[in-house]
Amino acid sequence: MRILRTFLSLGLVFGLALASSAQAAQFNWQQFKGTQLRVLLNKHPWQAGIEPHLKDFEALTGMKLIAEVYPEDQFRAKTLVELTSGASSIDVFMTMPAQEGLKYMRAGWYQPVDEFLKDASLTAPDYNWNDFLDKTRDAMVAEGKLIGPPIQVENVALMYRKDVFQKYNVKVPTTLDELEAAAKALNGKAMTDDGQPGFGIVNRGKRAAATSMFAGMLHAMGGTWLTPNREPAINSEEAIKALDMWGRLLRLYGPPGSENNHWYEASSIFSQGKAAMYTDANSLWPVIEDPQKSKVVGKVGYALFPRGPKGHSGSTVAVWGLGMPKTSKNQKAAWLFMQWATNHDQVFKVQSEKGVLGCRDSVWKDPKGKAKVPADLAESLAQGSKVGTPLWNPPVVAVAEVRDAVGAAIVTSIQGGDVRAAANKAAADMKRIMAETEKK
């Protein structure tokens, strides 16, 4: 046993050495040897996946990595405080462009990486930027500039009970009309093992939390957050239809009290077998397939968010990525790290070992790359991330405040109130908030 292990580790070292020398022949990974990089990471499946491999980067480049990991709330606070101070020593940090991209870019906190990516002396020839799923690349752009590479992607997707759909002979919805028909047909039908009735559909309904999933319906209906000249479009006819439908589905075919349901409550109801459908981030699949807590393991299908009446896609493309502060003194070295962490080998490792939803098409096409996740999830994720929209959040500076304004209209809709009036109010609030926070 011990001999075997020695052999294995010897082989590993040898292989690594071979691999790095082969790459080094084409590209100089050692050009910043001795540099020390400070990397700020959010506690996240991707971080857990990449951390064991960080020493490979040090071996390859001769650089030293200081990786700091914080739970999400502290991570956000820490990053914000350091960047605000203007004297941050961070070289690379995890970032969610739809949440903070516009704010950070306008504040001049990001160092865009477009130039580094084009530079043949800084980017390995086998990096293959176009291998990243189309919309995950778009999702890393703010104000026309590239923030960095994406590391993880998720879409708002349709999760449905395969067994229930089969039992009652209902077609899996691919359009919003079919979604409503299925919710209606299945609401009140027996769904659990002991024959208890369940709801047609469950979704988030809690004010701000609901907006990122509602974004799917908004775009499927053909709506948007803002018009091209940055006027609120949340009271357009398409957006009002979307608001109305989100509320109507939950009011008529969803659990009572949806107005206070975040993903936690909604996914509990679904994983307890009490609902036939659930539209939320497909990155929730480990919760739904958790044999310890879920009663629907193996019974759930994963599909694209249904398309709208005019064929618009409802998939949203939400990514975590890597960014580099303008204050970093080792920008080129930091780019080498960003590049290494997202090259084919690392994405493959993290995805095949931990089931992290990576952003590279080639890895999703590789049977080993997608072995950890349900097959239909792998399929729909790769597809949704090519055709969906990166705008799962309103593209504004004050994201949290605008989400609350839109969320209020969603709640009104769930409660059966005047959707048009609520949408107009949300649009007026958005206009005021944007005027306050985006004056130049």
């Binding site: 004010r207 009572p256 609350d404 209020a408 409660q415």
Partner: protein, 312 residues
């Protein structure tokens, strides 16, 4: 001090030259200053300075995220709150509604419980301790448990009201029920405090008025309304003061259970301020909301203190 006394007793020319470092001589000369200084500094840095800084910031417009510094805008924040901000008006109303409802419930229940527990009966000590338990529990844990109880699909509350033919309700998801439902949680948690204070008050009541009332032939009801309650009033007012201040600034249970929802139906002033300050990063405006909350709490307390002093 020590020096003065010595100076009085011994003629100045006999005083031996003082020895010691400059610091120890300074301490000897100014003991009051030196020994209170640390406390004063701590209070100043942690309490006085933040209060004044909050007031100062309330006159500014500042987004913590932008690179521009605070901009002085006078009373604009207050003007906006009172004339343009619907969420603020809603929050003020909800804060008062919640406070009145919760304190009223707690007062009636708390005083009744105290009267009950004041009577001699077997296992009195045991029951006293049991009734005080909710107060010791962690508010966030309480909120999480109540959230499960209120859950319309899985919770026990709908079963309970169903026994008497009511419901089902959606409780904290119902715009009209959310504040009463939250007030019930607060009542469950804090009624014991009123009981505790009232019990202490009951223990100090003199016996003489009851004796003369008995001799005059008063009924138990008369004795309660004419003697016990008036004598207890100062105590009850203290309990009321504590509870209303706390209710006005309740945050934990509301934030955990509803985060101000559904919509904004339980967004009290404190919850709204938290949102404005730490989610929207509109620091200046959040500070002005805090100043208003402070004024509200102070105003209510002053009124209650006046009522207490004025009547007795």
């Amino acid at each position: 001090m020590a020096n003065e006394i010595r100076a009085q007793k011994i003629p100045a020319w006999v005083t031996p030259p003082r020895r010691g470092s400059a610091w120890s001589l300074f301490v000897e000369d100014h003991p009051v200053l030196v020994f209170t200084l640390p406390a004063v500094v701590v209070v100043f840095i942690l309490m006085v300075f933040p209060v004044f800084y909050t007031v100062y910031m309330s006159l500014h417009s500042w987004f913590a995220s932008s690179l521009t510094g605070p901009e002085f805008i006078g009373l604009q924040n207050f003007k906006r709150a009172f004339t343009q901000d619907e969420r603020f008006r809603n929050a003020i109303w909800l804060t008062l509604y919640f406070t009145v409802l919760a304190t009223a419930l707690q007062l009636v229940l708390g005083v009744s419980l105290a009267l009950l527990l004041n009577r001699p009966f077997r296992g009195k000590g045991f029951f006293r301790s049991i009734f005080l338990l909710p107060m010791v529990a962690t508010p966030v844990a309480i909120a999480l448990v109540w959230m499960m109880m209120y859950n319309p699909t899985l919770g026990v509350m709908n079963y309970l009201v169903g026994l008497v033919g009511l419901g089902p309700y959606t409780w904290v998801s119902d715009v009209h029920l959310v504040i009463p439902a939250l007030a019930v949680v607060d009542t469950w948690e804090w009624t014991p405090l009123i009981t505790l204070i009232t019990l202490a008050g009951l223990a100090t009541l003199p016996l003489e008025p009851y004796e003369s009332a008995l001799i005059d032939g008063a009924t138990p009801a008369q004795m309660f309304w004419r003697i016990t309650l008036p004598l207890l009033r100062p105590t009850i007012m203290v309990a009321l003061l504590f509870r209303s201040i706390d209710c006005l600034k309740t945050f934990d249970i509301i934030y955990v259970m509803t985060a101000g929802g559904p919509g904004f139906a339980s967004e009290t002033l404190n919850v709204y301020t938290f949102q404005v300050g730490l989610f929207y990063f509109h620091i200046g405006y959040a500070c002005s909301l805090l100043v208003i909350l402070f004024a509200l709490v102070l105003g209510v307390s002053l009124i209650l203190i006046k009522v207490r002093r004025g009547a007795w």
